[in-house]
Symmetry: C2
């Protein structure tokens, strides 16, 4: 059964970028701090993702085994569209109400405007594997529409003090979660939550 | 060695009250949701704190073994000053720049205006035990002044969508933390962080 799963690195104070994020500064000032758990080893040396171990390895393997990707336009553009291939050529669905940027179109990339349609299309395309969801606004829309199944937060032991929040949109309805796993690992605590469907 | 430790129940989206908190509605609308882990058992029945077990018991014992309390005025007033006795008659230090409310004065309660002085006075009064810190604004001031030692977050598996944030003050300097413990328990994940002193 394919699930839609949000993966995001977040500081303890709720930020997913540093301050002053912009299209040219997608992570914000010093926002790479949130991604050191898979980019930098404990001695401060750059580390290839291939050398991860333990829960960090396991989470990265989950990311890279997704059968499709749903991503917000902002995140997609900040990443340069991953050159059209997030991993292994799996289909990528970009949530946007605007026409595609011609520079960011590839055969495996589709633009969809409705979050429910995007999630269902991605599930159908994922070949029974999970759907990787990227982007705060997309996640909020998906939760509001009841089409997000799980959240994997990589909780980083830092207070950034400013930036873009994962949960910072307009006031939303209360949403109950269920903690499925809590896995401490070097530089990060991996938390997996199931989103309880409203009765 | 006495430590100053913030204890707060926080939703995954960073809130420590529900929406519309006010002096007459200290926890905000439905904010009691954040405190169910020690107030309500899994069948929905009220449960005496005395019946807690496992990590929930351990954390509550830590709270109740503190040798002094430092609390923000807002939190103190919302709690009715605990009738002048938070637990076991330990001294309570209220951080405030305004004159005390005559209705909220007791022999064991002192009002102090400087967060550094409040923390040091509380440590001296705590008889070698830890100092329990209460209140978001107080914690932010203490962190900015470098006088908060640890944070114990009781992370609740819920998104409240609105309310008062634990980390929602004006933009602050980046602060590195060290995760000391992560203890899942019924209805809550207890996270203990050490605050790294700036070099």
């Amino acid at each position: 059964m394919s699930k839609t799963v949000l993966y995001m690195s977040m500081s303890l104070d709720g930020f997913i970028t540093g301050p002053n994020d912009s299209p040219d500064n997608g992570l914000g000032d010093d926002g790479h701090r949130l991604h050191e758990w898979f980019l930098i080893d404990q001695d401060g040396d750059p580390r290839a993702v291939e050398r991860l171990s333990g829960p960090n390895r396991e989470v990265m393997d989950q990311v890279m085994s997704a059968g499709a990707v749903v991503v917000g336009r902002r995140t997609f553009e900040a990443a340069g569209g991953w050159g059209g291939d997030h991993h292994d050529g799996v289909p990528v669905f970009v949530l946007s109400r605007r026409a595609p940027d011609p520079a960011l179109q590839w055969p495996g990339v589709s633009y969809l405007s409705d979050v429910g349609q995007a999630m269902q299309t991605a599930k159908n395309a994922a070949g029974g594997r999970d759907v990787l969801v990227h982007g705060a606004r997309t996640a909020q829309l998906a939760m509001a529409a009841g089409v997000l199944d799980e959240i994997q937060v990589h909780l980083i032991p830092v207070l950034l003090g400013a930036g873009r929040r994962l949960f910072g949109g307009p006031p939303a309805d209360q949403q109950e979660l269920e903690l499925l796993r809590a896995d401490p690992a070097p530089g990060v605590l991996h938390l997996r939550y199931r989103i309880r469907k409203q009765g």
